[in-house]
C-alpha cells in the first residue's frame, strides 16, 4: 500500500532531510549526496525508497536525473491525519445520538 510505504520512508531521518532538500526545487543526485557524509550508493538507496513510496519524483534531463518532492503525496498524508478525526467524531455522533434517543424514550 502506497500510504504504508510513505510512512515507512518518512521513518528515516536521512530520507526526511533529503525530502526537505528537494522540497522547493529539483536537484540531481550528486548535489543531494554532497549534503551528507554518507556514500553515494547509500544516498542512492534512500532515493530509491523515496521514489518507490512516491514521496519524490524524478525526471531525466540529458545525463542528469533530477529529483523533486511530490507534494501531492504529502498532502494525502495530511488528509489521512484528518481522516483520523473524521472517524472518531463519526463514532461520537452515533453514540451521542443513540444516548439521546434512549433518554427520550425513558421520559
Amino acid at each position: 500500500m502506497v500510504m504504508d510505504a510513505a510512512l515507512r520512508a518518512l521513518a528515516d531521518q536521512t530520507r526526511r532531510q533529503i525530502l526537505a532538500l528537494v522540497w522547493r526545487e529539483e536537484r540531481p543526485a550528486g548535489e543531494i549526496a554532497a549534503h551528507f557524509s554518507l556514500t553515494r550508493p547509500a544516498i542512492s538507496q534512500h532515493l530509491t525508497v523515496l521514489l518507490e513510496s512516491k514521496l519524490v519524483s524524478v525526471r531525466q534531463e540529458g545525463t542528469r536525473r533530477l529529483y523533486q518532492a511530490n507534494r501531492e503525496a504529502i498532502a494525502r498524508l495530511r488528509a489521512e491525519l484528518g481522516a483520523f478525526w473524521d472517524d472518531r467524531i463519526a463514532h461520537l455522533k452515533v453514540a451521542a445520538e443513540k444516548a439521546e434517543k434512549n433518554m427520550r424514550r425513558r421520559r
Binding site: M3, A6, L7, L10, A11, Q13, R16, Q17, L19, A20, W23, R24, R71, E72, I74, A75, L77, R78, E80, L81, G82, F84, W85, D86, D87, R88, I89, A90, H91, L92, K93, V94, A95, A96, E97, A99, E100, M103
Partner: protein
C-alpha cells in the same frame, strides 16, 4: 498547496443536545464509545487527559479548558514504546472541541492545532514524525473499532 500551519478542523452536526454530547467528552465510559481503549480523565483545567488510543500508544496531555456543555480543550502528545512516537511529547499540540446548540442538536467543531508548523521549513523532523506516527498509532484495519469504521463510511457515502 498551502504552506500554512498544519491545523485539522472538522465540523459535524449531531442530533443530540450539547449536554448529552458534552458527557461523551469528559466521562471515561462514554468516551470509550468513540475513542480509545482505556481512559483516565480529570476534566478540569490542569486535570489529566490520558487515553490509550491503540494498544500501547497513549495520547497524553492535560485539560486546559472545561466549560460544561460548551467547550473542552486538552493538550495532546504520545507515550509509547515507539521512540519516534514518544518523541512527540505531551503538550506538543492542542485539541479543542466546541459545542454549539443548533436546530435541536449540536454543532461540534473540532480543531487540532499546534501541529508542526510550516511545511516549507521542515528540516526532517517534527512535522513528518508527527504525521507518520499519528497515522500509524491508529491502524486502518484489524482494530476493535473496524466494524464501526465501516459503518461510518457507509453513512458518509
Amino acid at each position: 498547496m498551502s504552506t500554512g500551519r498544519v491545523i485539522i478542523e472538522r465540523t459535524l452536526f449531531i442530533a443530540a443536545a450539547p449536554e448529552t454530547v458534552f458527557r461523551f467528552l469528559v466521562d471515561p465510559a462514554l468516551m470509550a464509545q468513540w475513542i480509545g481503549l482505556s481512559h483516565k480523565l480529570g476534566p478540569a483545567p490542569g486535570g489529566t487527559f490520558r487515553v490509550e488510543v491503540s494498544r500501547g500508544n497513549v495520547a497524553v496531555g492535560v485539560f486546559t479548558e472545561v466549560t460544561p456543555h460548551r467547550r473542552v480543550a486538552f493538550t495532546w502528545g504520545w507515550e509509547s514504546a515507539d521512540a519516534a512516537l514518544a518523541s512527540l511529547k505531551p503538550g506538543t499540540s492542542l485539541v479543542t472541541i466546541e459545542l454549539e446548540a443548533k436546530d435541536e442538536g449540536t454543532l461540534l467543531r473540532l480543531r487540532h492545532s499546534g501541529l508542526p508548523e510550516d511545511l516549507e521549513r521542515i528540516h526532517g523532523d517534527r512535522w513528518s514524525h508527527y504525521l507518520s506516527r499519528l497515522v500509524q498509532a491508529v491502524p486502518p484495519s484489524g482494530h476493535l473499532a473496524s466494524s464501526h469504521r465501516e459503518k461510518a463510511k457507509e453513512q458518509k457515502a
